[in-house]
Amino acid sequence: MTGGSTPAALLEAARDMCQRSDAATAGMWPRAAALLARQAIEGAVDLYWATGPAPVLADCSMRTQLICLTEIAGPDLAGIVSSSWASLSSACHVHPYELAPTGSELLGWIDAVEKFCSTAKLLPTSGSE
C-alpha cells in the first residue's frame, strides 16, 4: 500500500510534476501526477483510519472506505475525498475517448486532498495550516 512515502510527500511530488517544466516529463506528467495523487489519497484515508476509529477499515475496498468516511467524518470532508478520488481514479485508467486531465484540474484535486489532510490533522504539525 503506502510503502515508503507519506501522503504529503506524494502530493508534493505530484504538484511538482504539474508545475515544473521538465523536458523529461514533457507530455506525460498529467497521468504520472494523477497516479501519485491518487495514491496520496489512498494513503491519507488509510492514515485516517489508523489514527482513529477503526484501523481495520484500511483493508476494505475503497468504495467501502469512502462510505464509512461519510458516516464517521461527516459529509463535507468525505465529499471532498470522494470526488477527488473518483476523478483521479478515472485519470489513472485509459477510458475510451478521454484525454489526460489538464494541469488545473490536477492541481484542484491535489488541493482538495491537502485540505482533507489538514482538516483531519494528518499532516505533520510544522508547515500545515
Partner: protein, 702 residues
Amino acid sequence: MDDALVGAVVERLGLRPLKAEAEALLLAACMGQNELERALGGEVLARPVPPDNQGRRPELAYLESLEVGGFRGIGPRTRLPLSPGPGFTLVVGRNGSGKSSFAEALEVLLTGEVRRWAERAVVWHEGWRNLHHSPPSIHLTLAVQGAGRATAELRWADGQDLGDPATVVQVAGEKRSGLDRLGWGEAIKAFRPFLSHSELEALLGRPSELYDLLAAVLGLDDLAATAERLRVAVRAAETPLSDVKKALGPLLGRLRQIDDERAAACELVLNGRTWDIDAAERVATGAQPLGPGGPREELRRIGELRAPALEDVVLTIAALRDAASRLETVTGTDSGRALKLADLLDAALLYHREHGDGDCPVCGRQEALNPAWQRETEQAIARLRAEAAVADDARQSARRALLSSNGLLLPEPQSLQTDVVDGTSKARSIWRTWLRAPIADDAEALRSRADHFEEHISALADAVEKTGVGAGRRQVDFHVTVDGTEGAALSVMSQGEVNALALSVFLPRVTMPASPFGFLIIDDPVQAMDPAKVEGLARVLSDTAMERQVIVFTHDDRLPEAVRRLGLAATILEVTRRPGSVVEVRRALDPPARAIEDARAIAADRGVPDDIGRRVVGGLCRMALESAFAEAYRRTRLSAGDEHHVVEDRLLASSTSLTARAALALFGDAERGGEVLTKLNGWGGRWAGDTYRACNKGAHGV
C-alpha cells in the same frame, strides 16, 4: 469560360439535348461574346471538345512547421512539427491546452485576422497577446512545389495592434519581401483553407452568404455571364417583335372599323396569342426564344416583370377622363345630320348665287331666297360644320384614348402561371382583375375605365414587385428526403448532421484543382457528432489526405481513436499545457505504446526518487495493459458488427478492474476473471502471468 465548365455544359447537353441550332448558339455563348455574334450571323463554329485533363494547376504549398510564441494560449515559443506533403495530421489537446492557438496563429498569418472574433465585441480582439510571455511572434515554414522552401514571420512590438505586425516573407533564393509575395490574396477568399467550428455553423446560417461563397468557386459567375449574353441577344432579336406588337394595336383597331369580312377574319387570326402569319400576310414572324428554359429562366422572367409605369397610367387616366367629358358635351348632337344639313344649305346658296333671289324651291315660300336669308344661311352653315367637327373630334379622341389605354392591359404574363416564387398566385389574381377593365367607348364606360385603372394600379405594382424581389433572392437550397418524405434539409437535421453537411460542402471547395493551398485546417469538427459519424468523418478526411495535407484540431480522443482503429495512416500530436502558458507538443503513439514509453522515461530519470518512480511506473504499466486489452476487445467486437455504444458501455463497466478488462478481451466475458491467469500462463509462460499480477498490484503503490 473555364475549360472544365465548358466540358460540363457539353456533358449536360449530351444528357438533355436541344435543337441543333439552340445547342450551337448555347455553346457559342459559353465561349464568348464574339463567338456568339458570329454564330448569330450564321457562321458555324467548331464544337468545343471537353478537356481530358484537369486543367492547369497552380503550384501547391504545404506546411512544414509552425512556431508560435506570446500569442493567445501559447507562452514561450513552441513548435508544431508537420510533414510537408499530403497526409493526415491530428492535433489533440484538451480545451485550453493551446491547440487552437496554433490554428488561430496560422489564420492570422495568412488572412490578418481571426474570423471567429471578427463579429464579436472588442474585448475579444484585445486578448490576443499571451498574458505570461512577450513579445508575440508567429513563424511559418512552407514548402512550395517548384519554388522550394519559404518562410513567413510576423512580429509585434509592444502596443501594436493585431492587424499591424512586421511581416517578413522569404522564398528560397530570393530577397525578403512582404506577404504579397505568396500571392494568395484572392485565393484565400475563394478557397479559404481554414474552417473552425463556428464557421461550420455559420456556413449554413446565412443562405445568401453561402450562395456567394459557392458561386465564386463553382463558376456560377461564368454561367451567369453566358446567360446574360444570351439574354441580351434575345432582347436584340425581340426588338423587331415588340415594335410589331406596338403597331398591332392600332392595326387591330383599324381592322375592326373596316366593315369587311376579310378584315374581321384578319383581326381574328391576329388577335390571339399566336399569329397565323400565313393567313395574314402583313404580319412579321416573332423570333423563337433562345436557350433552354427551366426554373432559372422562369425566375428571371418573374424578376423582370414590370407593372405598367405609374406615369403612363396617370396620363392615360387623365386622357380617358378628358375624352369622356368632351364626349358628354357633344351628346345629343348628331354630326351626320349637321353635315347633311350644311351640305343642303351649301347647295341652296349655290342655287341662289346662280339664279338670284326668288321663291324657295323646296317649300315654295314667296321671296324666301334673299340677301338676308343668304347671310343667315352662311352663318348657319359655318355653325353646323363647326358642330359636326367638334362632335367628330370628340368621338375620335375617345376612341384614341380607349385604344391607347389598351396598351396598359398587357396580357397575363406566362411567368406568373407557375407558382415558382411566393406570391405568384396572388399576383396572378390581381393581374386578372386588372384586365377586367370596361371596354365600350361611350363616356360612361371611359370614366369607369379610368376609375378602374386608378383603383388597381397600386395593388398590381406591389404584387409584381414582391414576386420580382422573391425571384432575385440569392439562396442555396438543400433538399433531403427523410424516410421517403421530402423536406428542406436545414430544418430537419440535427446539429451533428448539419456540421457534417457543412463539412461536405466545405471540403470540395478547398480541394479544387485551382486552389494553391496544399493544406487545409479544420478546428474541432467533431463536436456534436456521435462515434459512428466520427468514423465516417475519419474516413473522409483520410481520403482527402491522399491529395492534400489535412490538419485537424480536436479536443477529445474520438477522432484519434477512430483513426487508430480503422488503421488509417495519420500522425497524432498531443498538446498539453503547464502553468505559465508553457505548451508542450509531442507525438502520440497508440496508448499502450505511449504508456510504456512514458514508464521507460520515468524509470530512466535519475532525478525522480525511487519510491515515486516505482509508483508511477507501476501505474503506467497497468494503464498500458488496460488500453491494450481495450483495443483488442474493441477491434474484435466492432468488426463483428456490434454497435459502438454497446462496446463502449461494456468497456466502461470493466474499467475499474484489470481482471475484468482482461477477461473481456481474452474471452469476451468480463465474468471469467478467474481464468485470465491460466490463459496468460498458457500463452506465454509464467512470466506473462507474473507480469500481469505485478502490474495489477503496482498501480496502488508497491
